[in-house]
C-alpha cells in the first residue's frame, strides 16, 4: 500500500467536512475489510481516509419498532448476524449473514460499508431490495434518504455522492405473511463470492400471489429487481409452473458479466436455476 493521510474525526459533521474535499482519493473507512484489499491490489490509492471508528453512538445500534429495523451504519455484520431483532424482523438476513465471508471479516465489516462499496457480489443488497429499505445519508447540505432501489447505480457505483456518508439503514417492517428467501450460488469454492445471488419476497392473497419481489445480484453489474419476473408472479398461483416461468423471465432479463466465475451464458442459466429455487424455498 502507498502512504495516505488518515484522519479520525469524532463527529459526523467533522467527518463530512473532511470527506467533502473534491478529491476522488478521499473515502470513508470503517472496518476496512473491503477497502484495504483494494488498496493492497492498488485498485484504489487513497489520498485521505476518513476513519469513522471514533464516531460514537449516532452510527451504532440496531433498533426495532413499528416502522421496521433502524440499523446504525457502523453496526458490524457480526452484530447483525447475532441480533435477535434482525432474526425476528428479517430472518432471511440472519441466514445470509452466516455465509457472508467469514467470522473475522464479519467482525469488522459494517453495514454502511457493505452498501457503500457498491460491489455487486455483496449478499445483503439483493435481500434489502426485496425487503424494502432506505438509506439515510448525511452531507454538507444536510440529510437525505435514498430508497434502496435507487442506491446501486453500477459496478462499484452508488448514489452516495462524494462528501456524503451513510449514517443509518431502515429496513421496512415486514407483513407477517411475507415469504422470503436468499439463494446464494458459489461456482468455485463453497466460501467464494457468489456467482449468482437470488433474493425473493412474496405474499399470497387466497390461493394467489398478491405481491412479489425478485432481485438478482453477483451475475450482474449491480443488484437489480427483475420486474418481468415479478409481473409473472403477481396474481398467479404459487406453483412450480409459475416459479419456472418467473425464473425464465429473470434469466431473459439479466445482462450477466463474464468473469472467472463463469461465462455470461452460464450465469444466465444459473440465474434461471437459482431464482426458481429461491421461489420454491421461500418461507
Amino acid at each position: 500500500m502507498k502512504a495516505f493521510e488518515l484522519v479520525e474525526p469524532a463527529t459526523i459533521d467533522d467527518a463530512i467536512a473532511l470527506l467533502d474535499a473534491g478529491d476522488p482519493g478521499v473515502r470513508a473507512v470503517a472496518g476496512g475489510s473491503a477497502l484495504v484489499p483494494m488498496m493492497k491490489a492498488r485498485l484504489f490509492q487513497p489520498t485521505r481516509l476518513v476513519s469513522l471508528r471514533r464516531i460514537g453512538g449516532a452510527l451504532r445500534g440496531i433498533h426495532a419498532g413499528d416502522g421496521g429495523l433502524r440499523i446504525g451504519a457502523l453496526a458490524t455484520l457480526t452484530e447483525l448476524e447475532h441480533s435477535t431483532r434482525v432474526r425476528d424482523a428479517a430472518p432471511v438476513m440472519s441466514r445470509a449473514l452466516r455465509t457472508l465471508s467469514n467470522v473475522r471479516i464479519r467482525n469488522v465489516a459494517t453495514l454502511g460499508g457493505h452498501l457503500a462499496h457498491g460491489d455487486p457480489h455483496m449478499d445483503l443488497p439483493p435481500i434489502l431490495l426485496t425487503l424494502g429499505a432506505r438509506v439515510r445519508v448525511a452531507g454538507r447540505g444536510g440529510e437525505r434518504w435514498i430508497d434502496i432501489n435507487d442506491l446501486f447505480l453500477g459496478y462499484y457505483q452508488t448514489a452516495v455522492a462524494a462528501g456524503e456518508l451513510i449514517t443509518e439503514v431502515h429496513v421496512s417492517a415486514q407483513p407477517h405473511d411475507a415469504r422470503t428467501w436468499y439463494e446464494k450460488f458459489t461456482a468455485l469454492s463453497a466460501d467464494d463470492w457468489p456467482t449468482v445471488g437470488a433474493a425473493v419476497w412474496y405474499r399470497t392473497a387466497g390461493d394467489r400471489i398478491g405481491e412479489a419481489r425478485v432481485a438478482v445480484s453477483a451475475a450482474t453489474e449491480r443488484p437489480v429487481r427483475i420486474a418481468a419476473a415479478e409481473q409473472i408472479l403477481t396474481g398467479a398461483a404459487p406453483s412450480a409452473e409459475t416459479f419456472g416461468a418467473a425464473a425464465d423471465a429473470a434469466a431473459a432479463a439479466v445482462d450477466p458479466l463474464a468473469d472467472i466465475r463463469g461465462s455470461a451464458a452460464y450465469k444466465r442459466e444459473m440465474v434461471r436455476v437459482h431464482v426458481r429455487r429461491a421461489l420454491e424455498k421461500a418461507r
Binding site: M1, K2, L6, G32, M39, S51, N102, D191
Partner: protein, 156 residues
C-alpha cells in the same frame, strides 16, 4: 504528521507503544517492532485465517487491519495465550489431538477456536465448522483440527 502515528495499545497483557505509518497493517507492526510471527500473512485477503489475532476480544484478519486502528485497543496473539510457561488449554488440545501437520495455520486455528468457545462453550460440529470455515489448512488436517476443538471445549 498524519501519515505516521504513535500507537498505544495493550499487547498480550502488556502496555506498549509503536510508531506506524498509516498504510501499514497491524501484522507488519507486530512482526517488525515486536518480533511476533504467530500471526502471519498468507493469502493477504482475509480468506485463509493465518493472520488471525484478537482485537478487544474478537478475531480479526491482521493482514487487512490497519495498524492505526489498534491505537487504544487490547491485542492478543497466539504468543499471549500461555501463562507462566503453561500452555493454554486450547493449545494443549491441539497438541493432544495432533490438530496440525506443518503448523503454519495453527495459530489462526487456535485463536478462532478461542473466539468460538467464547460464544459457544459447548459447540456442535456444525458450529465448529461454521467458525473455522474461514481458516485454511493446506496440509488438510481438518478432521484432527475438529477433534482438537472438541477436546478444547472439554478442557477450557
Amino acid at each position: 504528521m498524519t501519515h505516521q502515528r504513535t500507537l498505544s495499545f495493550t499487547l498480550n497483557g502488556r502496555p506498549v507503544t509503536a510508531t506506524a505509518r498509516t498504510h501499514e497493517t497491524i501484522l507488519e507492526v507486530l512482526q517488525r517492532d515486536f518480533g511476533l510471527f504467530g500471526a502471519r500473512e498468507s493469502c493477504g485477503q482475509g480468506l485463509c485465517g493465518c493472520c488471525t489475532l484478537l482485537v478487544n476480544g474478537t478475531a480479526v484478519s491482521g493482514c487487512l487491519y490497519l495498524a492505526a486502528f489498534a491505537d487504544g485497543a487490547e491485542l492478543v496473539t497466539v504468543e499471549g495465550l500461555a501463562r507462566g510457561g503453561t500452555q493454554h488449554p486450547i493449545q494443549c488440545a491441539f497438541v493432544e489431538k495432533s490438530g496440525f501437520q506443518c503448523g503454519f495455520c495453527t495459530p489462526g486455528m487456535i485463536l478462532m477456536t478461542k473466539e468460538l468457545l467464547g460464544r459457544h462453550p459447548r459447540p456442535t460440529d456444525e458450529q465448529i465448522r461454521h467458525y473455522l470455515s474461514g481458516n485454511l489448512c493446506r496440509c488438510a488436517t481438518y478432521p484432527d483440527i475438529i477433534e482438537s476443538v472438541r477436546r478444547a471445549a472439554e478442557l477450557v
